[in-house]
Amino acid sequence: MNKQFFLLTFFLCALFTVKGQDEKIRFSEFTLSNGLHVILYHDNTTPNAMVSIMYHVGSKNEDPERTGFAHLFEHLMFEGSENINRGEFFEMVQAAGGSLNAGTWYDYTIYFENVPANELELALWMEAERMFHLKIDTTGVDTQKGVVIEERKQRIDNQPYGSWMEEINKRAFTVHPYRWPIIGDPDHIRNSTFEDVYNFYKTFYVPNNAVLVVAGDFEEAQAKEWIEKYFGSIPRGTLPINRPNVVEPAQMVAIRDTVYDNIQLPAVFIAYRAPASGTKDSYAMNMLAQILYGGKSSRLKTNIDETGLTLQSILMYLGLENSGMVYAIGFANLGKDSKDVEDAIVAEIERLSNELVSEEEFQMARAAMEYSTAERLRSLSGVSEALASSHTYFKDAGRVNNELNFYGEITREDLLRVAQEYFQPQSKIVIYYLPKTN
């Protein structure tokens, strides 16, 4: 390939070398003329490479009458392309010694192949194939509808408490598309048509709605040449992309409900809305969640689990692109009352909005953030996913190297302020799971 052409096509960003933690993620990035953003991360510790493509489409971009579609589509992306027969996608990657997978989230869908370094070109060609000309037939669509419906049963319907997130989110969000589950409604899935498939593909599966990350052992100039060769001529998408911008109104009244499930052990699920991913407040919320339920001396573990009130409690913060959620779960021990569990968890959460956390707890949370950031960036897949999502959400992959600085800026007063903003009695959702009585 002509070198001059390269320079014209690629907008080459500076190499990032940053301060803070001893080891920084060094990567380069550029955008093809069709809008495909590319990030290269070199690491030749082992002779392996990883190709990831993140499309900026998730369940939140779906038509409310076609929920589960982003996820169904993820399955269809393995069906084949103009030059890859049905069923061959898996086969080719494995025959090359690789492994592959994909995932659908509220905000994005990611596909990746882990391959031996000498098969990088193949993986790039394959991803370009399905971005350029995916091919699907009736058999494929019908099969994958069936598979997805079984997936729903396995993950949700046949799991004790399996529907909890669905039950909470549909109450937490009244207008925002986060109100429906990623896996979707089986009826919507059954009713989806070829036209739906086609429109979805033409709208979202376009280079200007994606970021490609190549990580591992490769030669940079060679990788760029292949990327230009296979992706460069894929046309830019032209259809308007539905990016929901509805603002979910604040919840004014506490919500309380009961779900009867095939379970023997009652459980209580408590939820609050929370900051969107990447906002300053999201870092504070991560630390709050750590203080509530992170280390062995965290508040829920010490004051609820270790007192014998619960079999187990759990708390997690989920940051999404447009919003976020904090979920707490408590399984009462035998002979203990779910109401006491609820009161104890809520008291711990709300206490954060009444008083500053101790200096010691604050230090623990900082140390934990440092550990988890390092842990996340230990593998090629961890780095790839972090770079891809940083670009997708913030158009700034370099944020992966700034995480610790963001945490460093958070003060104990920030924690109090964020807790006060989000952990209000009226903004709480409480759902009891009780055994079905036959």
Binding site: N83, E91, S99, P116, I136, T143, I149, K296
Partner: protein, 694 residues
């Protein structure tokens, strides 16, 4: 041959053509493979017998220490649960640190500390190394088993045990483990509500005092740490740990069942059944065909392209995930069908029996059919790729060194892994399948709704479904709803539902034209019948005759692309005579069939009467809808050289033709080949010539 696919194919053609003409049909060739470097772990032994395995990795900010005991503890027996409680109590406090202090010190350095019956693990950021190792060795050497923590652990365990039975997957796992290993082997012991009450705090202390010793342990260190630092650290913190004599328990080594048996765990209202096929098998790391066996299992049960995945998920949509695991064990290994992970596969409840059938079919297939060179090569490359990718995690090198030590493997065992893998042949794979895959000596374990249990009877070598509770204790078969009708009544109902005996007998001949889709092909079927027992079936594709099968009442003539033959006697002819016409069931009794009625069954969620008809070697089970009386499913069983073959047909969309109902849609599955037959037209009493049936 061009398949029908391309007709339906929905092609997303790119809108713009590019000036550059890239031929995208050219698949990139592999570049030369890069060499995989395998660095040896550094190994040293302390005076007290503790062997230390160090992998120095300068690139990671996180270090971990993992102490692993290599012991064979006594069976827990009626105290099953000691190790569960031990996990929850051990590591909570030490002689010099109470629970609160220990937790606080761990959290201040964000260390991840886990103590368990087989050792202690800690990971931490390098800068906290000193504090972390101090905590690690304290937990290892000076634990306190406090009554308060014991009581709390017991309370939680009681609560957890009370929810057993909530999840079909867990029920399946428990029963499958107990049946595979037997209750006299550690992996087969189950903690129950009864056994947990026998566990005392003294048992935990005894366990610790008996089995925690440096001479039966290995310490793995991975991180940015030099050999000298590791030696100093191990010596300083663990050098004073005293060796002792550690008893070694003898277990009853399990063996596979003599014949395949079916175990059913009832989980009422389950929307999916969790299915596994499992048995113990002698399989160890380092044995000569270890690589061949792994290649074989990859082809049978590997992800995405394994026989099981392609059949059960991609072809039939029975499940979201399936695969198989062949795991090596020091004393005994295990084969099992999984969901692709570590549990049984969850299948659509209504097709539980079909899923089991397909699983066994694929197990037989890998034994009977040599694998293709292509799939052999793919599986080898896949395993080589996995091997290389596992090295991304530096702990893998430590694991290699530990295995070499534990199993007495040659020093270069892992360096030669790829060479050994490379020479595995098609014959080696088949030999491994014959050695390790045992569809005739397996436990089929299913957790699901009771309604689907009896459909598994054909798979039980001992002709019984054995019911178990989730503690793997045998229980009585749940009381099924018995069908309070006779075989004669079922048939009479059916005849009435079709339109009555008179209307049926008025049909002297008919011709049915139907489309048949099978394996992506579309065929045309023309079936003509003339009373009492003449039949002609033509199978065509795109106007081309593939097969003709004529029966004139005594001689069957089959011709087609594979040549032609005439058959005038034997089972096939006898069966033919008795199975023709609108409702051959009408004449079952006078034709010498033995009929029996089973318990109420279910077809696609509807209650059904189950009628079994046996005549000579042939056996057919027919399901009649309890409400409409119509035939909704038949299962024909035949012995073939490939083992027993089942043909399952479902009858749907009954429509009236000249006063008699005919099914217009039939879904058939014959030995794993699925086809849909859609009727296009039925013509009746056109006075078909006798000659056409010659």
């Amino acid at each position: 041959m061009k398949t029908i696919y391309s007709l339906f194919a929905f092609l997303f053609v790119a809108l713009t053509l590019n000036a550059q003409t890239l031929d995208r049909s050219i698949r990139p060739e592999s570049a030369p493979a890069k060499e995989i470097q395998i660095k040896d772990a550094q190994v040293f032994t302390l005076k007290n017998g503790l062997r230390v395995f160090l992998v120095e990795d300068k690139s990671t900010p996180i270090t971990y220490y993992s102490l692993q005991l290599d012991v064979k503890p006594a069976l827990e027996g009626d105290k099953a649960g000691v190790s569960d409680i031990f996990s929850d109590v051990y590591g909570k406090a030490t002689v010099s640190r109470n629970k609160e202090q220990l937790n606080k010190e761990t959290d201040l350095i964000a260390a991840q500390l886990h103590a368990h019956p087989n050792g202690v693990y800690i990971s931490f950021l390098k800068k906290y190394e000193k504090q972390a190792i101090e905590l690690f060795s304290d937990v290892l050497l000076n634990p306190v088993f406090a009554q308060e923590d014991f009581d709390l652990a017991m309370e939680k365990m009681r609560t957890a045990l009370s929810s057993l039975g909530d999840e079909a997957g867990q029920m399946n796992d428990r029963v499958a483990a107990a049946l595979t290993y037997g209750k006299k082997f550690p992996d087969g012991e189950l903690t129950t509500k009864q056994t947990i009450e026998n566990v005392k705090i003294a048992d935990l202390k005894t366990y610790y005092n008996t089995y925690f010793a440096p001479n039966v342990a290995r310490l793995v260190i991975v991180g940015d740490i030099s050999l000298k630092e590791a030696k100093d650290s191990a010596e300083k913190y663990l050098g004073k740990w005293k060796k002792k004599n550690v008893p070694v328990a003898k277990y009853t080594i399990p063996s596979a069942p003599e014949t395949t048996e079916v175990a059913y765990v009832v989980k009422p209202e389950a929307v999916q059944s969790v299915v596994t096929v499992t048995y113990p098998v002698t399989f160890r790391i380092g044995q000569p065909n270890y690589e061949a066996a792994n290649v074989m299992n990859t082809i049978l049960g590997g992800p995405s392209t394994g026989y099981l995945f392609v059949n059960l998920r991609e072809k039939h949509s029975y499940t979201y995930g399936t695969g198989s695991r062949l795991s090596a064990g020091e004393l005994i290994g295990r084969f099992r069908i999984t969901n692709g992970g570590y549990s049984g596969t969850s299948v659509k409840a209504a097709i539980t029996d079909s899923a089991v059938y397909q699983i066994l079919h694929e197990m037989n297939r890998i034994i009977n059919e040599p694998v293709t060179e292509k799939s052999l090569k793919a599986a080898k490359t896949f395993l080589a790729g996995n091997f290389s990718r596992n090295l991304e995690e530096s702990g893998t090198l430590a694991e290699f060194a530990v295995n070499i030590d534990k199993y007495n493997l040659p020093k270069d065992y892992y360096r030669n892994f790829l060479k050994r893998l490379d020479v595995v042949s098609v014959n080696d794979v088949q030999a491994a399948a014959q050695e390790y895959i045992k569809p005739k000596n397996a436990w089929i374990v299913v957790a699901g709704d009771a309604a689907h249990a009896e459909s598994l009877l054909p798979f039980a070598g001992n002709n019984t479904i054995q019911y178990f509770d989730y503690n793997a204790n045998p229980v009585e078969k749940p009381v099924a709803e018995s069908a309070d009708v006779s075989a004669e009544e079922i048939i009479a109902n059916y005849i009435n539902a079709l339109g009555g005996k008179d209307a049926i007998e008025k049909i002297k001949d008919y011709t049915i034209i139907a489309d048949m889709s099978a394996m992506g092909q579309m065929l045309t079927l023309t079936q003509s019948f003339k009373a009492p027992n003449k039949s002609l079936v033509l199978m065509e594709m795109n106007g081309m005759l593939l097969q003709r099968m004529a029966f004139d009442g005594s001689i069957m003539r089959i011709s087609g692309m594979g040549g032609s033959q005439e058959i005038s006697e034997g089972d096939m002819v006898e069966n033919m005579k008795n199975s023709l016409g609108v409702a051959p069931e009408m004449n079952f009794i006078e034709n010498g069939y033995t009929l029996s009625v089973g318990d109420m069954g279910e077809v696609n969620g509807e209650k059904a009467y189950v009628l079994t008809a046996v005549r000579g070697e042939s056996k057919t089970v027919i399901y009649f809808d309890a409400t409409t009386g119509l035939k909704v499913r038949s299962v024909e069983m035949a012995d073939t050289p490939m083992g027993e073959m089942q043909t399952v047909t479902e009858y749907m969309d009954y429509r009236d033709v000249e006063g008699v109902k005919f099914p217009f849609l039939m879904k058939q599955n014959a030995g794993g080949m699925a086809s849909d037959i859609t009727v296009k037209s039925i013509e009746v009493n056109k006075g078909l010539e006798v000659s056409m049936f010659q």
